[in-house]
């Protein structure tokens, strides 16, 4: 192997060599720089290979031939090698990226770039304290130089601020070093650690000074005003180095120092880290400048890693895996984003809509976004999983909560940013990225995926990038050039095939969910055949969601469950975001979903008590004082997906604004994921009490309230899809209610709702979508009288609403019948009041839906519209058939499930003998009902046809109008505010309290952030004072240590 000393030597040597070149030989100089960086990267890579694959032992490099303390020594192990590779590769890629700038500025700039990379190598390698100082100073000097690469005119000011604070850091560091040396008699870090520096007289203060100086290089909040200015003003390629590599190197330095400080200093590191993480993510919320926001995000991420380092005492061997996972995710993503920001002309977040129409760049952006947010399958996800589990296992719950809160904030502003890109105003000029810049960004993106694969392999769990559904979904990324119908066929085939593959392994419950999610998904996808063109982005997103769903139902342990959950969340987010005006709704969806996911994560972590392997089954064995808390966390998490009241505000917009074929997916299928989770939860944890309150009782109330408020809000909607969306909230409330009853029939009812809701909500969303497509509006009062023009859609809607309202003889009635039988044994009766009230209310909005769209007066402009497209109608009629079959023989689907539920609740099973279904309390014969009703109906119909055979068909204005005639169809169609008296009577229940609550909360966060950021006044001296104050306060606080 090449000695690692050459990494430093090569950088230094080449920098000197550049000085010897003639000024005109720019190309040569640039080539030399690249070669040097590539060479050092290759050396680092070689060592990394040696350590990781060949399992070589760490090497000590004695620079002067003698061991410490008599000479400076370097050490190269696995982490060092990895960080070296990171630093050098970042440097190399930035150098490539900077091609034009560097060629323009000449060899001096290249030399400085080499120096900074070399200095990072030094920081990583050295084990000598003073040497560390020297390399830090080199970083300061080269940073001072490289900031000037930027064309930004404020860069100078920013650089000077940095220099001022660096002076302060230098002073502290030097004094600390000399006193540490004085106390320990050595400058070697390991030597100091061995001498227990902090235990010696004066050693503690000396260590504090060193520690604080190095920590200051991590730009902790609040002593970091200068750093943000650098991020904002510097050239993005330099920012990439500064954020990805320098911060990593500094972190490693802190890690070394903590070796000296020992366990007593870990809490200090943790505190600084977590404050930085939460505060800077909060401060990032109101940022409008992309680079400054990225700066805050960097500070936050570094703070998180510092927290992880501070938790070394409990993380133990996993520290490397966790810190590495977060660090590399951060480094790759942040470098990538900075490089991307160099491609965007404007500095406002909104200007990033320039990326639109560049699939590659968007792919890269999404990759970075997912890495930063810790989404699967990237390293951050695995790291977060381990971290949270270990924290929970050791009872560090406050820290856990803070980390999740900060992460949620970060996801919030990142996804908002993504929304601007996808949905912002169409950019005026299209960006044409230079090829080298594009490839740098793409390399980073691919590196991200590679890291994901690597971390998946390193983790104790299965590697998500080796799971077939996920690969299938990702495969669509490669097929984007194909026309939509081919991809659609592939997607349908994939779903069906996966279902057939899994079929033998499903238990009845899984079978029902699998049928709905996979076969049902395939059915909805048939509607997608009507789409033209390539539909870039649709299939990867949709299949990602389906992959998550497919993995969710078969997940055996908490890790796979959670990973699947995150995948389906992300996939559905991208799907929802495709809608025309869906940006704000998609954002609130993802924020709520991620918040919910974090709660689930916390719940699993608590339940697992530190084991990162945790089978779902084991939820049964969770010990008592903990169990209800686990229950609460998981339940809230799942309820964000089912949009239980209070957590529902994302749903209406998200479902309503989604595309025609996406709405049924996210409503008919996605919501079921939450129900599936609740099924799992209740199946394994059963009833839990918290402070004497039965939690299932609470769930029952929540379910009942959701049913009532969801339905109530639905009747006041003018927008047909919003109406259906609110109705979903209500329907999910019913299902939740059924589950929470915790008896046999309650569960059966919930399952019946799962099936029914899938069928009729998908059907209705498709019909309404088809109508909206034809009429160009979703506002119901603008439609009317479409029955003659769109009779097939009308039939679908009619069947749908009869089924949904529970009127016999269609399948909805079965649900109501089971419901009544179920509540006979329910322990609580009061929530029934709400449920009883919400039943007829459902009737109101359903009638409104069919009336205002299909009945009443046809409008002028709709006189010539056609029936909905064939491909949208086809699935609807398959649903109609399903509904009919399910109405006649519900046993087909329910019988096995009924038997399956008997495992959990032996009491109260139904008797399926013959045509009649019998419970302990009543009986019901679907076929007889259908026949009786049919016979009566047909008889009367025949009679009416006979007596009324000469009826004259008249037109829409031939109505009695008190002797007058109608004025225009618009004024004759009673549709707007259809239930006005209802609003007068019960409108007070529809006050947007929940929306108000969440809005106030986000407003508060934003206001707090907005006020807090005034702290960064922009004045260098103020920043210096911040830093000194930070030191003093920290000193006072750490006195206790």
């Amino acid at each position: 192997m090449v000695s690692p000393i050459f990494i430093i030597a090569a950088g230094l040597g080449t920098a000197f060599l550049l000085g010897l070149l003639r000024d005109e030989w720019r190309a040569a100089a640039y080539g030399l720089t690249l070669a040097a960086l590539a060479g050092t990267a290759a050396i680092a890579g070689g060592w990394l290979w040696a350590f990781a694959i060949d399992g070589a032992a760490p090497v000590e490099i004695l620079t002067a031939g003698t061991p410490a303390p008599f000479a400076i020594n370097l050490r190269l192990g696995l982490p060092e090698a990895a960080l070296l590779l990171l630093a050098n590769l970042t440097g190399l890629l930035s150098a490539v990226y900077l091609k034009d700038t560097l060629s323009h500025l000449g060899r001096r700039a290249m030399a400085v770039l080499l120096i900074i990379v070399m200095a990072m190598g030094g920081i990583i390698l050295t084990r000598d304290l003073f040497n560390l100082f020297v390399f830090f100073e080199l970083i300061v000097i080269s940073t001072g130089g490289l900031i000037l690469l930027s064309a930004e005119r404020h860069a100078l000011g920013a650089g000077f601020k940095y220099l001022i604070v660096s002076q302060l850091i230098t002073i502290l560091l030097l004094i600390g070093i000399i006193f540490a040396y004085h106390a320990a008699g050595t400058l070697n870090i390991d030597g100091m650690a061995a001498a227990s520096l902090v235990m010696l007289k004066g050693g503690s203060l000396a260590f504090f000074l060193i520690f604080i100086a190095v920590v200051a290089e991590l730009k902790p909040v609040p002593a970091n005003g200068w750093a943000l200015d650098i991020y904002e003003a510097a050239h993005p390629a330099f920012s990439a180095i500064f954020s990805a590599a320098v911060a990593s190197a500094s972190l490693f330095a802190v890690d070394k120092l903590l070796l000296i400080g020992g366990p007593a200093w870990l809490p200090v590191a943790t505190a600084i880290g977590i404050i930085s993480f939460v505060a800077s993510n909060l401060l990032a919320l109101p940022q409008t400048n992309d680079r400054r926001m990225l700066g805050y995000s960097s500070v936050g991420q570094v703070g998180l890693i510092l927290t992880v380092l501070g938790q070394r005492d409990i993380l133990g061997d996993s520290t490397l895996f966790i810190a590495g996972g977060i660090l590399f995710s951060h480094a790759v993503a942040k470098a990538g984003l900075f490089w991307l920001s160099g491609l965007v002309a404007g500095r406002n977040l909104q200007d990033w809509s320039a990326l639109r129409g560049q699939p590659l760049l968007i792919f890269a952006f999404v990759t970075f976004l997912a890495m930063l947010s810790g989404l699967p399958p990237f390293p951050g996800f695995y790291a977060k999983w381990e971290l949270i589990h270990l924290l929970a296992g050791h009872g560090r719950l406050v820290l856990l909560a803070l980390i999740l809160f900060g992460a949620l904030l970060e996801a919030g502003y990142l996804f908002r940013w993504f929304g601007y890109i996808i949905k912002g105003e169409q950019p005026t000029e299209v960006i044409v990225p230079a090829r080298h810049k594009l490839s740098v960004a793409m390399i980073a993106a691919l590196a991200g995926w590679a890291l994901g694969y690597l971390w998946g392999g390193l983790s104790a769990h299965n590697n998500l990038l080796q799971t077939l559904p996920l690969l299938f979904a990702l495969g669509f990324l490669l097929l984007e050039w194909l026309p939509a119908w081919i991809k659609n066929s592939l997607a349908i085939a994939g779903l069906v095939a996966w279902f057939i593959l899994g079929y033998p392994g499903y238990d009845p419950l899984q079978l029902i969910f699998a049928t709905i999610m996979l076969l049902g998904g395939a059915l909805i996808l048939m509607a997608s055949y009507h789409a033209q063109g390539r539909r870039v982005g649709f299939y990867p997103s949709a299949m990602l969601m389906y992959a998550g769903l497919a993995m969710l139902i078969v997940a055996k342990d908490s890790f796979n469950f959670f990973a699947a959950w995150e995948l389906l969340t992300v996939g559905s987010y991208f799907l929802i975001l495709r809608g025309k005006h869906s940006e704000p709704h998609a954002l609130s969806y993802i924020v709520f979903s991620l918040g919910g996911a974090f709660l689930i994560l916390a719940g699993f972590a608590l339940a697992a008590q530190g084991n990162s392997q945790f089978s779902i089954e084991a939820l049964r064995q969770v010990a008592q004082p903990l169990a209800p808390w686990v229950f609460v966390l998981l339940a809230i998490g799942f309820m964000t997906k089912t949009a239980a009241i209070g957590l529902h505000i994302w749903l209406p917009g998200a479902h309503a604004e989604a595309e025609t074929d996406v709405s049924p997916m996210v409503s008919g299928i996605l919501l079921k994921a939450g129900l599936f989770g609740l099924f799992m939860l209740l199946m394994h944890m059963g009833k839990q009490q918290l402070y004497g309150v039965e939690l299932t009782h609470v769930l029952m109330w929540i379910g009942a309230l959701s049913a009532l408020i969801g339905n109530l809000l639905a009747i006041f909607q003018e927008d047909a899809k919003r109406l259906l969306a609110y109705s979903s909230i209500g329907q999910m409330g019913y299902a939740l209610f059924g589950l929470a009853m915790m008896n046999h029939l309650g569960w059966l009812m919930a399952l019946m709702f799962v099936i029914n809701h899938y069928i009729y909500k998908s059907m209705l969303f498709l019909s309404v979508g088809g109508i909206a497509k034809r009429t160009g509006t979703r506002l119901m009062y603008k439609m009317g009288g479409l029955i003659t023009l769109m009779p097939l859609s009308f039939i679908a809607v009619l069947i749908g609403i009869i089924a949904m309202s529970g009127v016999p003889p269609l399948s909805g009635f079965g649900g109501r019948w089971i419901f009544y039988n179920a509540i006979m044994t329910a322990e609580y009766r009061l929530p029934m009041i709400l449920i009883f009230l919400s039943g007829p209310i459902a009737f109101l909005y359903l009638f409104r839906l069919i009336h205002t769209i299909f009945l009443g007066q046809l409008k002028d402009e709709h006189r010539k519209i056609k029936e909905a497209p064939f491909w949208i109608l086809l699935p609807q009629f398959i649903y109609v058939v399903c509904l009919m079959v399910f109405a006649l023989v519900p046993g087909l689907a329910l019988r096995r499930v009924d038997a399956y539920i008997s495992q959990f609740f032996p009491q109260g099973a139904l008797n399926w003998e013959g045509l009649t279904i019998t419970s302990d309390y009543g009986y019901w014969s679907p076929v007889s009902i259908m026949v009786v009703v049919g016979v009566i109906f047909m008889t009367l119909f025949a009679w009416l046809l006979f007596v009324n055979r000469k009826a004259q068909k008249v037109k829409q204005f031939n109505i009695v109008f008190a002797g007058e005639r109608p004025f225009r169809p618009e004024t004759t169609h009673f549709a707007w505010n259809f239930f006005a008296p209802y609003r007068k009577a019960l409108g007070f229940l529809t006050q947007p309290l929940v929306t108000g609550f969440w809005e106030t909360l986000t407003d508060l966060l934003h206001t707090a952030a907005d006020v807090a950021r005034r702290f960064y006044t922009g004045n260098a001296q103020i920043y210096a004072i911040h830093f000194l104050a930070f030191v003093v306060v920290l000193f006072l606080l750490s006195r206790g240590v």
Partner: protein, 213 residues
């Protein structure tokens, strides 16, 4: 012709423009036909008896005589005893009482309401004004002969006739119906053109289809 009845060009959601002719598109333009009686005379007789015993009056007071109809609902006269009821919509009524003077403006509404009633239907002209103009014989706005515009089955003279006279009128009308002579609707259909000609002569701004179903 009112603006809302004129032909207009509208643009569909798909951006294609087309013409809408309200009178054609929003109104049925079929003329009424003579509806034959039931095939069997006995059945028709039974039906006529039922029609006679179930007189549903359209609650449309066209003139001052409307005030004379109200007492019929009260305990003193109680017309319900005779199978007489008031219905709020012409669709369900089969007796139209033109209660007093009929102005040109009201005639338009009366024609509409009459045509919206179902066959067989009956018209009673109440008071002198419907017979020959009564005290409004020289008015610029009041018709002087109802039977020129609608087929009248029965006139009740007086200015105004008392409720007792109305009750007597109902009984006489029942006689007419039972005798199978209450064929005003068919008469209207048969002489449709003549009625329309008369109606259009006084209604200058004819802004409705020829027959209001």
């Amino acid at each position: 012709m009112k603006a809302e009845l004129e032909k207009r060009i509208v643009k569909g959601p798909d951006g294609i423009e087309f013409e809408v002719d309200p009178l054609q598109d929003y109104y049925c333009q079929e003329a009424p036909t003579v509806m034959p009686a039931a095939y069997s005379k006995i059945v028709e007789g039974f039906f006529n008896w039922a029609r006679a015993e179930s007189l549903w009056i359209l609650g449309f007071g066209t003139g001052c005589g409307a005030i004379e109809m109200r007492p019929l609902m009260t305990p003193r006269f109680d017309a319900y005893r005779y199978g007489v009821q008031w219905r709020p919509t012409p669709r369900q009524a089969n007796l139209f009482i033109i209660s007093g003077y009929l102005s040109v403006k009201t005639l338009k509404r009366a024609i509409r309401s009459y045509e919206q009633m179902q066959n067989p239907k009956y018209v009673i002209g109440l008071g002198s004004c419907t017979i020959n103009g009564g005290m409004y014989w020289d008015s610029y706005n009041t018709l002087k002969r109802l039977d020129y515009y609608l087929p009248v089955d029965l006139y009740i003279a007086g200015c105004m006739p008392r409720p007792e006279a109305l009750l007597q009128g109902f009984e006489d009308l029942k006689e007419i119906i039972r005798a199978g002579k209450g064929e005003g609707a068919n008469q209207y259909a048969q002489y449709f053109d003549w009625y329309k000609m008369n109606q259009k002569q006084v209604i200058h701004d004819w802004d409705m289809p020829d027959y209001n179903w």
